[in-house]
Amino acid sequence: DAGQANFDAVIAKDSRIEPKDWMPADYRHALVRQMSQHAHSEIIGMQPEANWITRAPSLKRKAILMAKVQDEAGHGLYLYSATETLGTTRDEMTEALLAGKARYSSIFNYPTVSWADMGAIGWMVDGAAITNQVPLCRASYGPYARAMVRICKEESFHQRQGFEILLELSHGTPGQKAMAQDAVNRWYAPSLMMFGPPDADSPNTSKSMAWNIKRFGNDELRSRFVGMLAEQVKVLELELPDPDIRFNEDTKSWDYGPLDWAEFKEVLAGRGPCNAQRMERRRAAHDDGAWVREAAAAYAAKQSASNDREAA
């Protein structure tokens, strides 16, 4: 029919679908899944970094970290709004997260145990996120693509700040340098796994690529990311915990050592070091805040009722 034809044409010429346009149910469903997961990741992802706000070792770093975590709340809000254009409410998405039905990025189930983790998360986790998200700025769904443009801009700012934290540490006292190296060691593999399983095991990839939601395979993005790390780690004078990293002249891409996908699946299945803690904290914030949200709603209702009376 006309809707499908228009949709196909828009995809074919790599243009944008907008909320009012007809779209296939599968496409809508895939977007809701991906976008809400992305929003949830921003929100849960606040926790590992918020863990160091009260302990940041200088006031400047404290201010930068606060601003960063606050940006993540902003990204979450922005992405929830973009997803709402697909007909799902924020309450429904929150519900799904708290019920354990919706996912968030597994990387946030690892603990932040030292200040250097603020550096490693910025450099590696945000770095991986950007590598993933830059192509999404051209995603076929308009609101998503526009959200990504804005988010990527802030993320690269965050990545640079993370890099600076590590740089300061790696050029600091031996204790600081060790702290930085330890953080890089711990976050390296999980950040590579952020790109998802190898393409061969990634069932949704081909469909997403056909719809211009995804632009590159998981492995290609991962390899690009490794290349970025391999270059920048030299400036940091630190090492990546993977002796197999090298540029492969044949494939013109970066090779890296094997990843522990069994661990990845364990964490994905809820058995990572912080899964329970992250969900518990989100649930507690939600539950503890219920009376506040109810009060705000009740007050707003009373106000509008009294405005109505005045108008009458």
Partner: protein, 245 residues
């Protein structure tokens, strides 16, 4: 000069301790919008703290971080209000309402300070605190006028925090010494009382009666809460003495 630095230290410590308390809310707010709002307020307070501490420290050849991370509890000059625990959201809003009402009046006057730096810092800060005051005022109205539970909690929060009002408006010899460079705390009390009473009247809540017998923050006598806050805030700096970050 030294007196002005001591005075700046008080204002800086108030803002620093409040920022530290508010920072704990980020990722724990009742809704995402509040994570953002409380985060904003915390950032503003931290910004004010950094300006005041940097200026104060210059008199003794110390950086903002020397002052924030290497002083011991009795050397902090913050008033007791700011170190009170967050409690529930209503307690935080009550603390915030008092803090912003006070800081707004204080900074507004301080823009006329004979010390150009204090005047400049206050000029920037008063605009931001104006927003903090609006934020907390709106929440006082909403919580007091929302549900039965929120009304009960808002009243409890105000009762809990009001005893710490008195200390904010106490004068002492340093104030006289600072003269035109500072603001006489007691001179702000009347307008504070009037302005907060007006909001509480609109909210249909009585101004709590509790006076506070003590205080002492300006002279380094704190409540039992500050020690824990500082232990957490200073832990890394203390663990890695001399390191830069």
């Amino acid at each position: 000069r030294e007196a002005v630095a001591e005075y700046a230290l008080r204002l800086g410590d108030d803002a620093l301790i409040l920022a530290q308390r508010l920072g704990h809310w980020i990722s724990r707010g009742p809704e995402l919008e509040e994570d953002v709002a409380l985060g904003n307020i915390a950032l503003d307070q931290l910004g004010h703290a950094r300006s005041f501490l940097t200026y104060a420290g210059a008199a003794w050849g110390k950086s903002e971080d020397d002052l924030a991370y290497y002083r011991r509890e009795p050397e902090f000059r913050s008033a007791h209000l700011f170190e009170q625990p967050n409690g529930d959201f209503a307690v935080t809003i009550a603390r915030q309402f008092i803090a912003a009402s006070y800081q707004y009046l204080l900074y507004r006057e301080l823009t006329r300070s004979s010390d150009p730096m204090l005047a400049a810092i206050a000029g920037k800060a008063v605009k931001e605190v104006d927003y903090h005051l609006d934020h907390s005022t709106q929440w006082v109205l909403r919580l007091a006028g929302g549900t039965e539970e929120s009304n009960r909690r808002m009243i409890a929060g105000l009762e809990l925090m009001w005893p710490f009002v008195g200390e904010l408006f106490e004068d002492d010899p340093l104030i006289a010494e600072v003269g035109d460079a500072g603001v006489v705390p007691s001179s702000l009390k009347e307008e504070f009382d009037r302005a907060t009473a007006a909001v509480l009247a609109e909210a249909g809540v009585e101004v709590p009666a509790h006076p506070m017998a003590t205080g002492g923050g300006r002279h380094g006598r704190h409540s039992e809460h500050l020690g824990y806050l500082l232990a957490e805030m200073q832990v890394l700096a203390r663990e890695y003495p001399g390191a830069s970050w």
